[in-house]
Point group: C2
Chain length 196, copies 2
């Protein structure tokens, strides 16, 4: 029977992992620093060393979410085919997969955005996501598969489609099958809209 060491070892990441679990299962409102501390086997005040406030923990969680999402999207673009259609489909599908697989986290990520005192890192993370979309459009234009025009304006419909698709997927009311149809339809629709 070994006594628990005075120092946890890696409380910070332990808290983040635990927090994501309860976030996923019970939502951000149910998240309690004290409960997290209990689960980690540590005193109620211990988490404050790593996260000054509860909001700080949520921000850290959101930031991690953005990193995971952009990583997934980067990977998808890297292994997708060359045509605009293929890349678009890949992007949409991995974005949607992340969204449906991390509902609560995504809510947190975007919910935090329109708060005046969101971390600078957070807004930077969302910027990188936006760039991903414009890059895709740009490459499509170079290949002559997307009608010409200023990228920052051309990319809006794409972002609209991505956001809208996930929003629709998250608000539910769709069977797995309807959703898959919807994705295909929307991709086709978007392609038609971008056609030269």
């Amino acid at each position: 029977m070994k006594a628990r060491p005075y120092h946890h070892g890696d409380l910070r990441s332990a808290l983040l992992t635990l927090a994501e679990g309860t976030l996923r299962e019970r939502g951000p409102a149910e998240l309690s620093l004290r409960e997290l501390a209990r689960e980690a086997g540590v005193s109620p005040a211990a988490p404050s060393r790593h996260f000054k406030t509860k909001q700080a923990l949520l921000d850290a969680l959101a930031l991690e979410g953005f990193q995971r999402l952009t990583a997934a999207l980067d990977a998808s673009l890297a292994q997708a085919g060359d045509t605009f259609a293929q890349r678009l489909a890949g992007l949409a599908r991995t974005y949607l997969a992340f969204a449906t697989g991390n509902t609560a986290l995504l809510d947190l990520m975007y919910g935090r955005k329109h708060d005046p005192d969101a971390t600078a890192e957070l807004v930077a993370a969302t910027e990188r996501l936006k760039n991903l979309a414009t890059d895709l459009i740009e490459s499509g234009q170079r290949r002559g598969e997307v009608r010409p025009g200023p990228v920052d304006r051309q990319s809006v419909p794409l972002m609209v489609a991505l956001q809208g698709l996930t929003a629709l997927a998250l608000t539910g009311g769709f069977t797995e099958e309807q959703l898959d149809e919807g994705v295909s339809d929307t991709i086709a629709f978007v392609l038609r809209g971008y056609a030269p």
Copy 2:
């Protein structure tokens, strides 16, 4: 100096009004039943007569939001022109106006949806919204301004666009002007996608 009457008179709607105020200014997390009771000048336990839990109050708020939104959209469609393009533009713009004018409320409305125990009234309210979109598509098809096809599949891109547009508007990062451009671009994009 008249004594405050034992009964408030209309505590329920007073609570709803007050709640929407603090929701708008400080978000749903900052909402406190006790504080609401204080502002309404009643005892801390009084609100429980009308809203068993805090969540019940939020649900009521969300429901009210859906009613206001659908009313606004109905009005918009009623006074819009006859062509599909006009009706689409009207719908998009009033939807967006509501979204930007009631950020927190809209978050509440859609945030509550993917909770297993959301009110039946709530899901019904979202259904009516969906119908609005399909009606628009259908009328467009009758006029020969929208390519034919099964309505429930054809309407998906429209809903995607509406949801995406508001999502984008809410997450910010756009000036008023960019947003307006984005709306126009997206409307044009959608029209092109639906063109026969």
